[in-house]
């Protein structure tokens, strides 16, 4: 990696100041995406602003909402009895991310800010209709994810937490890339009294997306059979050496059915 300055501010205000003052300053959370990027010299920050001392960790449950602070690690989420009780799909999802080392360093805030098209959490946050809280505002999930590695975050804006409504039922199913173990197709399904939301990661050229036809059918009948006959077109899906768009389109159906079966 290239040389850079390193700061570890003690308050959110200081962190925002450091990041806003310098367009080439970058935030560091768990480093599980950012450090490999630095090692490959794909990014040349002037200053790396470590978010570790901002007190942004922890999980709180109040009524029908779960709030997870941005710097909470995947391992913490996977091990949380509250998450397991309230949003079992999310607990399971966190347990499937990367390996032990990645889960003990990587954070939910970092994953959401990064919005990797094959990352897991964006599907949960979108399906759960979550709200991303930052140092300056609240952003609904439907507006937050704006395409591959692109989000509604402004330069220097820091995610502080994510607020997730508690669904009646939830599940995550992941078809892994055999090499990287990221999602080739990951499906998060959440059933609320108001209806079903289903979000797909790994497959779309534009990153995570909701599947309107599946949602409609599942809202009427929350059972795998409800979506068995609905084909997903391959257009707009990713193709790579591991999976063609057609294969991904097919997997969306299979993985979604399995997610619903698990949740139901």
């Amino acid at each position: 990696m290239y040389d850079f300055a390193y700061e570890k501010p003690g308050s959110l205000a200081d962190a925002v100041k450091l990041l806003s003052a310098d367009p080439d300053a970058k935030a560091l959370a768990g480093g599980q995406t950012f450090i490999p990027v630095l090692k490959q010299r794909l990014n040349r920050p002037s200053t790396v602003v470590d978010l570790a001392k901002l007190g942004l960790t922890g999980i709180t449950v109040s009524g029908d909402k779960v709030t997870i602070a941005a710097m909470t690690t995947h391992a913490t989420i996977a091990a949380s009895p509250e998450i397991k009780a309230k949003i079992p799909g999310l607990q399971h999802q966190a347990s499937l991310i990367g390996d032990e080392a990645v889960r003990h360093r990587g954070t939910i805030g970092g994953s959401l800010a990064n919005n990797d098209p094959a990352a897991c959490y964006p599907s949960a946050v979108l399906a759960l209709n979550g709200t991303i809280k930052t140092d300056r505002r609240s952003i609904p999930a439907d507006e937050f994810f704006q395409g591959m590695f692109t989000t509604a975050l402004e330069p220097g804006e820091i995610i502080t937490s994510v607020e997730l409504p508690v669904p009646q039922k939830s599940a995550y199913e992941k078809f892994r890339n055999p090499a990287s173990r990221y999602a080739i197709v990951g499906v998060f399904v959440a059933k609320f009294a108001s209806g079903v939301r289903l979000a797909i990661t790994g497959a779309g050229q534009g990153g995570v997306f909701r599947h309107a036809e599946f949602e409609k059918a599942l809202s009427a009948n929350f059972a795998p059979e409800a979506i068995a006959g609905i084909a997903t077109p391959a257009e707009g899906l990713n193709g790579d050496i591991h999976a063609s768009p057609e294969y991904r389109a097919h997997l969306i159906g299979v993985v979604s059915k399995r997610a619903v079966a698990k949740a139901a």
Binding site: Y2, D3, Q40, F175, P178, A179, S180, D240, I241, H242, A243, S244, Y247, H250, L251, V254
Partner: protein, 793 residues
């Protein structure tokens, strides 16, 4: 202490240091005043170098020197040599284009070294390398075999027409064609052996050290054979005589063949250390490993078997294209010829065999031996072909194998492809494996899986390989430019402990334990008083290193010979001490005894007398108890056996799950059963990796698409089912231990077993063959395309 000799599963002596992070790998070594090298590599597969501007890099902070191919060309430095010369069918030698240490004129694969920056730190060297400006003119490139031999294909080397390194044959084509012409039936199979990237856990590294007072060079390197590197680099590349060049291969974290070869980086650090008169270190980054470690396999073949009406094999006819990559790596030409085509009889009586191999240059990383080297290619081809014969004729695949086996009473058995097998019993390994696998009750498991919505399949491979390489005169006549004997020096110290200096090299195999057990067995010295030293040309007399499962069969045999000499000398000393005649002295359990009496001397009494020769036959005998032996094997060794795999396929996704794996191997005498089991397990894991996961993928223009672990699928622990590993051994008849070798059998026998199981699972879809790796995506598309046909039926 318990039993520690041959046959004891003693724990590995080396594991304490490995498991507690106290191994001493090349990158752990730092020499005083050490500088760091960073290698600027080609980012494109094929291009002319019009100009290289290193001025800015040379002035960058921390930089000591920058060297390019032109600097090397200006010195008395040779190209990287190839260790094996193959001859074309017309008798002319293979094409052997120059393999420069740093590219001169052209780059020929992504990763080809172009320049090297020497700096205070790795970081400074890497920063400066970004400032090197290279003007390239891109040239058309070719990556895959069939493209490379097509008319009008881009030429990787000027003057190598059609990219053909050699066009080699074994067997009599006219005779074989005659057999085919009159045969009852011919079964044909086209198949590809996928290209693999070795990915040893420890990336390659090298440190060059130059002693300004003596003018001596030392190279620390991640090598499986330091003496071979000293020979190749010293004699052919840098022209440093052996007495001025020491090569040390300390702990090495996995090789699988990829650390046999002499690599440019070794010459670069050694030469530049002399130039800048300071030590120079280079350690590969993982992405450099992907594009600079020699790759493995990469064959495209057509195989045909002529059979009679009962399925008896009458003749085998094969054509193979083998990818050499852009340059010839050390062993490369031997792999698809003498380590492949000579194995095509396998365990079968096939009377006539003809094989034509064309070795082809492409704009890819050099391809060389990788765990199994040639034998996995032969085994995969043969065992897939046998299953295809069963598929086409309806003959039971077990019966087909049995009726064509070389019977246990036919040894020594001369094959039609040069090799003479010394021993084996293929019916027994087959029987034990079938029994262990519950072959006969498989259909019930298939039906049960079907009820769960899974497609279950079972596959078998009955294989043979040739290792313990190799008799020097034989390999010499086949084109090897070296002998393949092994060397052992046994030093009995004054108080009876022993140090073994072996020319083999351990990089995960556990030689420090296995070889020590030979000393326990033969000299009766306890294991904790035996030290095995390897990997240093300054300590070990000579050696050819470790590959081709040769360390025990060849290196161990050299130890036996050296210990025979120790015992012979010890008897003379004991006879003197016991005032008896030498003929009357017996040696057993660490003790020299006058036969038929209780008068004896221990080995320690004798060694003490040898080093403190006060009461000693000094007129007839030199002091000391230290003997060296060179052992040249009389033949290859021929491990073999039977592997059975069971898989379940999820028809909705195409995912293959390995659910059962049985290996019953004949590896000859087993010294440490636990280590043998571990070696077979590791080999099988690599074989499963090749069959289901691994694939080095180049785009047609030569960019490596699977250039990191994000895209190159290594098998993980949870991809490997519990492996049932057993041995049913016949002894090697021509070496003193009876050992054959176990390092490669797992990787050789398993891929066809797995693929035969996958094909069997897909039976109802009319699948006769599919190429490795059997990825989910591939299987899904096969199922997809078969659906309409099944629906129509």
């Amino acid at each position: 202490m318990g039993f520690e000799g041959i046959g004891a599963s003693v724990r590995r002596k080396e594991d304490v240091r490995f498991l507690s992070g106290r191994g001493n790998y090349t990158d752990d070594i730092n020499r005083p005043g050490q500088l760091h090298a960073y290698i600027k590599r080609a980012d494109r597969p094929h291009a002319r170098i019009d100009a290289i501007d290193t001025a800015a890099a040379g002035k960058a902070p921390g930089v000591v020197r920058v060297f390019t191919g032109a600097d090397i060309a200006a010195e008395n430095i040779g190209g990287i040599p190839c260790g094996w010369q193959i001859h074309n069918k017309d008798g002319s030698p293979m094409a052997e284009p120059m393999h420069p240490v740093l590219a001169v004129g052209k780059v020929r694969h992504v990763g080809d070294p172009v320049a090297v920056v020497i700096a205070d730190s790795r970081q400074a060297a890497k920063n400066a390398a970004e400032l090197i400006e290279i003007d390239y003119t891109d040239l058309p490139a070719v990556a895959n075999l069939t493209d490379a031999v097509a008319a009008g294909a881009p030429e990787v080397h000027d003057g190598v027409a059609g990219n053909l390194c050699y066009d080699w044959v074994i067997g009599d084509k006219a005779v074989v064609d005659g057999v085919f012409a009159s045969a009852h039936r011919v079964v044909k199979l086209d198949l590809t052996n996928n290209r693999l990237i070795p990915n040893a856990m420890e990336p390659r590294a090298a440190i060059g050290d130059y002693d300004t007072s003596s003018g001596d060079y030392t190279l620390y390197t991640t090598s499986q054979n330091p003496h071979v590197i000293r020979l190749l680099m010293g004699a052919f590349v840098l022209h440093i005589p052996e007495n001025k060049l020491r090569v040390v291969a300390p702990d090495v974290g996995g090789g699988f063949g990829s650390k046999i070869y002499h690599y440019a980086e070794e010459a670069i650090v050694t030469w530049t250390a002399g130039k800048v008169r300071r030590p120079v270190k280079w350690t590969a980054e993982r992405s450099e490993s992907f594009m600079s470690d020699a790759h493995g396999r990469d064959h495209v073949s057509t195989a045909e078997m002529a059979i009679d009406k009962d399925g008896v094999f009458l003749g085998l006819r094969i054509t193979t294209l083998a990818n050499m990559g852009a340059y010839l790596s050390t062993f490369a030409p031997a792999v698809p010829t003498y380590l492949y085509a000579t194995l095509l009889a396998g365990v079968y009586k096939t009377p006539v065999i003809y094989c034509n191999v064309k070795a082809v240059f492409t704009n890819t990383v050099p391809v060389d031996a990788y765990r199994g080297a040639g034998r996995p290619e032969a085994t995969y081809l043969l065992e897939r072909l046998v299953d295809a014969i069963a598929y086409d004729t309806g003959i039971d695949k077990i019966e087909l194998r049995r009726k064509n086996f070389i019977p246990a009473d036919a040894f020594p058995y001369q094959t039609p492809v040069a090799l003479q097998y010394d021993s084996g019993d293929y019916q027994t390994t087959l029987n034990v494996a079938l029994q262990t696998a519950g072959w006969d009750s498989f259909e019930a498991r298939r039906a049960e899986a079907k009820r769960r919505g899974k497609l279950r399949g079972i596959g078998i491979s009955t294989y043979l390989e040739a290792c313990g390489i190799a008799p020097s005169a034989v390999v010499g006549s086949l084109g090897a430019r070296a002998g393949l004997y092994e060397v052992a020096n046994i030093r009995v110290h004054p108080t009876g402990s022993v140090t073994v200096f072996t020319g083999t090299h351990s990089h995960g195999q556990g030689h420090e334990t296995t070889l020590a057990q030979l000393v326990v067995d033969q000299l009766g010295v306890p294991l904790d008083q035996v030290e095995v030293v390897h990997g240093d040309t300054a300590k070990i007399p000579f050696g050819m290193g470790t590959y081709g499962s040769r360390s025990l069969a060849v290196g161990g045999s050299a130890m036996v010979k050296a210990m025979d000499k120790i015992i012979a000398k010890g008897k003379k000393i004991a006879a003197h001490l016991l005032e008896a005649s030498v003929q009357d002295i017996e040696f057993k359990d660490n003790t020299f005894t006058v036969a038929g009496t209780d008068r004896s001397k221990t080995l320690t009494d004798v060694s003490l007398a040898a080093y403190v020769p006060h009461n000693y036959p000094i007129e007839e005998l030199e002091p000391g108890l230290d003997e060296t032996a060179f052992y040249d094997p009389k033949n290859f060794t021929f491990p073999g056996g039977c592997h059975i795999a069971e898989v379940e396929i999820d028809p909705e996704t195409g995912v293959v799950e390995m659910v059962n794996f049985i290996a019953v191997d004949d590896v000859g005498r087993v010294v440490n059963p636990m280590i043998v089991e571990g070696q077979v397990q590791g080999g099988v894991a690599q074989g499963i990796g090749q069959a289901l996961f691994e694939s080095a993928i180049y785009d047609p223009d030569g960019q490596l698409l699977s250039g990191s672990f994000m895209d190159y699928t290594m098998p993980r622990a949870n991809d490997i089912p519990p492996l049932s590993v057993a041995t049913e051994n016949t002894m090697c008849t021509h070496n003193p231990l009876g050992s054959k070798g176990c390092g490669e059998v797992g990787a050789i026998g398993s891929p066809p077993a797995v693929m035969n199981a996958v094909v069997d699972a897909l039976k109802e879809y009319g699948v006769r063959h599919l190429e490795m790796p059997a990825t989910a995506a591939k299987i899904w598309s096969i199922i997809q395309s078969a659906q309409p046909r099944i629906a129509a039926e």
